[in-house]
């Protein structure tokens, strides 16, 4: 088998060396048609020429494919950027088989046909490799986006001098809560704020796990010397919390962000005119 493989490889090496130019030309033609008709032909031709050279070199150097794989990865990424599907990219690679087969067909030696079968397996591998590269590149993009989304969806904002707020939107899970906690505590250190408001108006559901996470965040902030208020608990959520038997302990909760801000302001020594004062002020203005 190995002996055969070696002989087959040699035969293909010779064939590619002799007929290389013609095969490359035919490959570019085929690839331009099969791999999406709107491809930039000059660019594609350039890439394929490089790959072809790398392929010949790889055959000469006893199957060292690192160069070849690098070029294929580049091709795959380029195709992905230009909006081709992974199948398009793989098809470009597979069309090399047809180009080579046409060269093999005109060769009368049956040994060459055996060489072609070996070569076909070889190209299959390369095609699968481009597919894999595409998938990994895509996965990396997706995980990067997920991370960015996590960062974006947990802003820590300054409401007042010494009062921070964390408006939470969306479902809270362990990973997200960790980010919230770290960002909030870090912001407390940086700004020296003594009060923080965790607003959960945008959190659709609170279960025991979420409550646990909130409690942890509040306790951690308290350990550092800041006081936390949880606000934005909607009626249904309050009912759920009671039904689940969650104890918020001595944590201050307010129904709206405005109430929480008023509370924090009062605690930090700012005089907040209540509704009564406002009415009195309006009355005195009118008179």
């Amino acid at each position: 088998m190995t002996v055969h493989g070696e002989a087959d490889r040699l035969r293909m090496e010779v064939l590619l060396k002799e007929r290389g130019e013609a095969i490359l030309k035919r490959w570019i033609d085929l690839a331009a048609v099969s791999g999406g008709g709107h491809a930039d032909r000059v660019l594609l031709a350039g890439r394929l020429t490089e790959i072809h050279h790398a392929l010949c070199r790889s055959l000469e150097q006893d199957g060292d494919t690192s160069d070849l794989r690098g070029l294929l990865a580049e091709l795959s990424r380029g195709q992905a950027r230009e909006g081709f599907t992974p199948s398009d990219t793989a098809t470009v690679v597979f069309s090399l088989k047809q180009a080579v087969y046409e060269a093999v067909e005109s060769d009368e030696d049956t040994g060459t046909l055996r060489g072609y079968i070996w070569f076909s397996r070889y190209v299959d591998e390369l095609g699968l490799f481009t597919f894999e590269t595409y998938v990994t590149a895509r996965e990396r993009i997706i995980s990067g986006q997920a991370e960015q989304l996590l960062e974006l969806s947990t802003p820590v904002v300054k409401l007042w001098d010494g009062i921070l707020a964390v408006p939470l939107v969306g479902t809270l899970d362990s990973a997200r809560t960790q980010v919230v906690m770290e960002k909030l505590l870090q912001a407390l250190v940086e700004t020296g704020a003594g009060h923080a408001v965790i607003d959960i108006t945008g959190v659709p559901a609170v279960d025991t796990e979420v409550a646990q996470h909130l409690l942890k965040t509040v306790v951690a902030a308290r350990l550092m010397g800041a006081e936390c208020v949880v606000s934005g608990i909607r009626p249904q959520i309050a009912q759920t919390i009671v039904a689940l038997g969650i104890q918020f302990g001595d944590i201050i909760t307010k129904s709206s962000l405005a109430d929480a801000l008023a509370h924090a302001l009062r605690r930090s020594g700012v005089r907040v005119p209540g509704a009564a004062d406002q009415l009195a002020g309006a009355a005195s203005e009118r008179s």
Partner: protein
């Protein structure tokens, strides 16, 4: 063995922990602090742990114990400068340091205890 220095500022004691404490050092600090509180009749103790990066449950218990001892000797303890990572660790360990007051930094800690002693100094109106 290095001892943690205990500084006196009016009727406050300031303990700045500059190195990662070991069990022996903690016990020594506990003893020293109790003695100094009695000798100076301090009203408050501020423990600054800004430089502490590593905590375990022992440190957590130590802070709570020191606070209890100080309270028995009529001095209030404030822990200041806890790092976020340390706070998260203590919470994960289930230690909430109940009964220990905290402040973000030394300045705020002094203010917290300072107001208290100032309030004491105000003469009672007749």
């Amino acid at each position: 063995m290095d001892r943690v220095p205990i500084l006196r500022l009016d009727d406050l004691l300031i303990v700045s922990i500059q190195l990662d404490l070991e069990d022996q050092g903690v016990l020594a600090l506990q003893e020293d602090l109790a003695e100094v509180i009695v000798r100076t009749s301090a009203r408050g103790v501020i423990i600054d742990i800004t430089a502490v990066e590593i905590v375990d449950s022992f440190i957590g218990r130590m802070l709570a114990a020191i606070a209890s001892i100080s309270r028995v000797l009529d001095a209030e303890t404030v822990v200041v400068g806890m790092r976020p990572a340390v706070a998260i660790t203590l919470v994960e360990l289930g230690l909430s340091l109940g009964g220990v007051r905290t402040a973000l930094d030394l300045e705020k800690g002094v203010a917290l205890l300072g107001n208290r002693s100032a309030a004491r100094a105000v003469p009672v109106p007749r």
